[in-house]
Amino acid sequence: MKLRNIPHLLGQGFVSFWRNGVMTTAAILVLICCMLVLGSFYAVVDNLGAFIDNEIDSLKTVSAYVDASASSEDVEGIEAQLKALAAEEGSNVISFEHVTKDEVLKQMMESSDELREVLEKYTSENNPLPETFYIKFESFDGVQTLLRNLEGIFGAGNIKSQVVTYESLKDLRSTAAMVGLWLMVILLIVAVLVIMNTVKLTVYARRKEIAIMRYIGATSVFVVAPFIVEGVLIGLVATVISCGLQFLLYNNVITDLINDYAALKINLVPAMDYVPLIPLAFLAIGLFAGVVASAISVKKHLDV
């Protein structure tokens, strides 16, 4: 194909895009729907992820209790062991905090009125609560070793971690990501199929013309190019509209939904954080669907 054909082929694509108003509009609408479902789903999953990440940070604390029978020397010994552990290379410990049993009692009484009523009869003389250490750690990766080390210091059964909660949150997150991925694949296929059907009608209406072009020596590129241009235009228009709609949808509908139905107060990811990711993803989907659908639809009519 010669370069000087390019303006002509682009022009043909534009003309066809306008001429097939109804079909083009239908294809654009389908693409927009697919894009919005995908975009919204991604935003929800991402917000869930951000929320879980936040939660995970607050889960990275182990509570360890000292036996009630321990003397204050024992407690000092434990604190020294902990200090040594924290100082070790690769111990996974960021910091630890020693809360005396009096402070624990005070904290608990301050935390709620009901607890205060229950705990009021205790003083520092008969305080049943244990001396407590809060150990903040770096990551969940090496947490099992840390827990074993801490059990060595405090004794088995005196350690409380959030590993189970962490595991289930992690599962939830990967499930959501997986569902998202499949949804994306399915919607992409649907988009391609529907656009293909649309373009097919256009191609079918012009099959005679395509055949004549072939008879007078047109290359397949020459025949296909205008249809590809048409597909690209469909993809571009759908992308632009979807980006605008997605922005509105996120800032209004999705925000309200999450705030109304989530029991917890979630800080939503700002819409602008999804720029340029979502627009680029939409563009990729639009171009892919438009081009692939057009190319496939024309291909079988080329064989004359």
Partner: protein, 219 residues
């Protein structure tokens, strides 16, 4: 050559047309004349045997070469094959556009060809607004627009009056004098008699006669 439905449209053909020859192909309706053009254009593929056009070996040529093959020949199809939604001018211009001709050249040459077939005042008409003969002349202009090495005309005089028919034939003769191969398919014996050119007669898919300028040649 056998069509998918089992019709053996051509068989046992052994024909050689030299560069620059002028050949009539005659035969009754259904004799296989159009099928021969379809084979030359690689619209159909030979089911058995060999076929060579220029340097293209059609029986084993890859599909991507088809456009190049077709650009070496200009064909006036029996059913014209004009673009229904393009004007006369656009139909001819488009053929040139397809092979990547410059716009300036197209602008300059289309009017020349339209004048040649006397359709200058129909330039803006669509094929459906034209008579059969006029459509045929558009097809003719399109066939020669790209200066092909070979011109094939399937019943070029079938739809035009004797005078126009005479003019078209003169044009073909002139094109042939320029060194181009011309193949004229017709069942108009009167036409053939007039010109004393090589004439290949087909009947039921076989060559039954090959006369050279009136002299019979064994087939």
């Amino acid at each position: 050559m056998v069509y998918p439905n089992g019709t053996a449209a051509l068989s046992g053909i052994n024909l050689k047309i030299e560069d620059g020859e002028f050949v009539f192909i005659v035969g009754k309706s259904g004799a296989g004349k159009t099928t021969l053009t379809k084979l030359l254009l690689r619209e159909e593929k030979v089911t058995d045997g060999k076929l060579r056009v220029d340097d293209f070996r059609l029986e084993k040529m890859p599909k991507r070469k088809i456009p190049h093959l077709r650009r070496t020949m200009g064909v006036v199809f029996q059913d014209f094959r004009l673009f229904p939604n393009k004007t006369v001018y656009e139909n001819v211009a488009f053929a040139m556009r397809v092979i990547g001709e410059k716009s300036s050249v197209i602008k300059q040459r289309v009017p020349y060809f339209l004048n040649l077939v006397e359709l200058t005042d129909k330039a803006g008409s669509f094929p459906t607004e034209l008579s059969g003969g006029e459509q045929q002349r558009v097809a003719f202009a399109r066939a020669i627009a790209n200066n092909p090495k070979m011109v094939i005309a399937d019943e070029p005089t079938g739809n035009v009056d004797p005078e126009m028919s005479r003019d078209l034939m003169d044009l073909l003769i002139r094109i042939n004098k320029l060194g181009k191969t011309v193949i004229v398919i017709t069942h108009d014996h009167y036409l053939v008699e007039q010109f004393k050119k090589r004439t290949v007669t087909l009947d039921e898919g076989r060559i039954v006669g090959d006369r050279n300028g009136g002299v019979a040649v064994e087939a």
